[in-house]
């Protein structure tokens, strides 16, 4: 069970696709200008990552090492095309909203990275779970990025949610007269906010490490005195 705990911790924090690996910036920066779009892309990414990790873990015995990358890309592209078509056919209303994001996922190298680094070497259940957790790590960061950019850029939150839940509507947080902050909406704004998020993560990690080191040195000191006291004369 602790292996699964490790996978979850890696996906959500330690090897977070965005904050630690800084992968998949193209769709990340393009779509994170508001919260609803960002989370929508994130959820579609989770589905693709779980399926591609599952498919490649299942087929890993048949894929020669030398041509693994083209085969992975082939499988991922086929999966994404299938999901795109199925969405269009069976969930057309949702497709009108999320449709543009699905082909974008192919450009997200995180899918290929996880397949190569994890799914190709691990069993079905662990690989699928890794896809899920890496996806969750992607969603929370891209969602936060979208929320910050939307708030700073437009003074709103959840705008566009009526496309997914027609009964809900976005919230105007800053007064209507807020002129907006254009740079937050443009790709440079995404870089700024992303940089701050990465710095925040590094700061939290550095603090945690420092605490751990202090605790360890306390322990060692205690231990040392214990030993010193117990040394028989």
């Amino acid at each position: 069970m602790s292996a699964y705990k490790d996978i979850a911790w890696n996906g959500i924090w330690k090897q977070n696709t965005i904050l630690a690996q800084v992968l998949g910036l193209c769709p990340l920066l393009a779509v994170s200008s508001n919260f609803v779009n960002a989370v929508s892309l994130g959820l579609a990414t989770i589905v693709v990552m779980m399926l591609s990790n599952f498919a490649i873990s299942a087929l890993r015995a048949f894929i020669p090492y030398e041509i693994r990358i083209p085969v992975f890309i082939l499988i991922i592209a086929a999966l994404v095309t299938g999901i795109d078509l199925a969405f269009n056919a069976f969930l057309h209303d949702l497709y009108m909203v999320l449709g543009i994001f699905i082909p974008l996922i192919v450009t997200n190298c995180i899918v290929l990275a996880r397949v190569e680094a994890f799914a190709a070497k691990n069993g079905l259940r662990a690989a699928t779970f890794d896809g899920l957790m890496m996806g969750v790590g992607f969603v929370w960061v891209i969602g936060l990025l979208g929320a910050v950019r939307e708030f700073v850029g437009q003074g709103t939150l959840f705008s566009g949610i009526e496309m997914i839940f027609p009964k809900l509507s976005g919230i105007q947080i800053l007064p209507e007269s807020y002129p907006g902050f254009l740079i937050a909406m443009l790709p440079p704004g995404a870089f700024f906010v992303l940089g701050l998020l990465i710095a925040g993560r590094n700061w939290l990690d550095a603090r945690a490490n420092q605490r751990m080191r202090e605790q360890r040195s306390h322990h060692q000191a205690d231990h040392a005195t214990d030993q010193a006291n117990s040394v028989p004369v």
């Binding site: 779509v31 508001n34 894929i63 020669p64 041509i67 086929a78 095309t81 269009n88 057309h92 009108m96």
Partner: protein, 234 residues
């Protein structure tokens, strides 16, 4: 003495590995391509049906059904690809009539010069040559910035940007004023996202000019016929 024997052996095993690897690659390609093709043909009818339903809904947005009494789906003609409308494939042009009299033409057009490529439009143009309404049907403009050309994304819900074109014709806005204000024209744009507005404005101007010029022909062609360029120069 053993060397001359070993070299050809190695070559043959390299060849065997290459052939084997290529065969596996080919097998994967065939399997996954046929999976994609299968999914495509299985979903194609459903996709086409939802595209048609979507089209009817869009026509309803630019042309209220109360204004006409004919069946638009049968009273339509086929347009071969029209460069001046920005279209590179065949489209349909629907003709609305009331009591047999021409009411409006509904057609598709596209702007190829959006900020992120193509912006597809649907327009209704009445029998007097005025643009009744237009809607953006597909675009890739920046979310939260250039996407106000789509009224669903426009923050101004009371008077979305796209509605400023309603019921205007070249009799009220001269052809050379059918531009955004930044280009010396008549129509507003949002600062910081002029390109999207300019693309839509210019495309609608081109579509209106094209339609007005051949309005009578478009109305009088038999249903389900094909519009051919009159006196077209090759």
């Amino acid at each position: 003495m053993s060397e001359p024997i070993e070299v050809p052996r190695r070559e043959s095993s390299v060849l065997r590995i290459s052939v084997r690897t290529a065969a596996i690659m080919l097998a994967f390609t065939l399997v996954f391509t046929s999976l994609m093709a299968g999914t495509y043909s299985a979903t194609a009818p459903l996709v086409a049906a939802s595209a048609l339903a979507e089209k009817l809904r869009l026509i309803g947005e630019v042309l209220p059904p109360s204004l006409y009494d004919n069946d638009l789906m049968t009273d339509a003609i086929t347009l071969p690809p029209q460069k001046s409308l920005g279209l590179d494939e065949e489209t349909r042009l629907w003709r609305a009539r009331k009591d047999g009299k021409p009411v409006a033409l509904v057609l598709e057009a596209a702007a190829l010069d959006g900020y992120s490529g193509r912006i597809s439009l649907i327009l209704s143009i009445d029998a007097d040559g005025r643009l009744m309404a237009q809607r953006v049907t597909a675009h890739k403009e920046t979310p939260g910035l250039g996407d106000y050309i789509d009224p669903k994304k426009d923050k101004n819900k009371k008077r979305p940007w796209i509605t400023q074109f309603s019921d205007l014709g070249f009799d009220t806005v001269p052809r050379e004023k059918w531009r955004v204000k930044k280009d010396g024209g008549r129509f507003d744009q949002m600062s910081g996202a002029t390109i999207s507005a300019r693309a839509v404005t210019n495309a609608s101007g081109r579509a209106l000019a094209w339609t007005v010029e051949r309005r009578d022909t478009l109305f009088s062609l038999p249903a389900n016929s094909r519009y051919e360029q009159q006196g077209s120069k090759q």
